[in-house]
């Protein structure tokens, strides 16, 4: 039942859809950073009307939402097992972030730990994800 006569077996093709999706993700995140920096440098937040302030405050998020949509598009180009690894890693990161943020919140209230900005939560979760991903990967090796 040998199949030695077959020509070179097909390799997993380079995935142009994946490359395009992640290119757009990085473009979106770059745009997000550019908007944040430009607003920080050129906008005086104290002298804005309420609605203009709201518009400018959420403007970077339009780019972030666009980037996230392409992130998901890119993840969907991976096969089912790889997606399982991404999902497990994400759930671990989500769980750790939930426990850590609530623990810190209770400590803020009861013991008076310094107030932390909500901006801390996502980078913490991203850090947890970057640590959980190789661990989950290793589990299936």
């Amino acid at each position: 039942m040998s199949d030695r006569s077959l020509p070179t077996a097909p390799r997993p093709p380079a995935n142009p859809a994946r490359a395009s999706a992640f290119r757009k993700f990085f473009l979106g995140m770059s745009l997000y950073l550019v908007i944040v920096v430009l607003e920080g440098v050129f906008i005086d937040a104290d002298n804005l009307s309420l609605w203009l302030g709201i518009g400018l405050a959420v403007a970077p998020m339009a780019a972030a939402v666009w980037a996230m949509a392409h992130w998901l598009e890119g993840v969907r180009t991976f096969d089912e097992f790889q997606q399982k690894i991404f999902t497990e890693s994400g759930l671990i990161a989500l769980g750790i972030t939930a426990v850590a943020s609530f623990t810190y919140g209770f400590l803020e209230n009861f013991v008076g730990l310094p107030k932390l900005s909500m901006f801390v939560v996502f980078p913490f979760m991203a850090m947890c994800y970057s640590l959980s991903l190789p661990l989950v990967h290793r589990r299936y090796r």
Binding site: M1, S2, A9, E80, F81
Partner: protein, 65 residues
């Protein structure tokens, strides 16, 4: 679930990368399937069956069988 993927692949003298290419999955996925660390979805199981020309039950079996 147990499976005969490794044997079937060896019979055809395919590497894991060859099989991965034919199934359009990663080599790591093939490895996880062969070592029983991952059970495939039904669509992937059918694809594996079609590739080897065998019904699914001749490739995969329950651990208790």
């Amino acid at each position: 679930m147990k499976n005969r993927l490794k044997v079937l692949r060896a019979e055809r003298d395919w590497s894991q990368a060859d099989l991965a290419g034919r199934l359009e999955v990663s080599r790591q996925t093939v490895n996880a399937l062969e070592t029983g660390k991952y059970d495939p979805s039904l669509p992937l199981a059918f694809k594996i069956g079609r590739l080897f020309g065998l019904p699914i039950e001749q490739i995969f079996s329950d651990e208790d069988d």
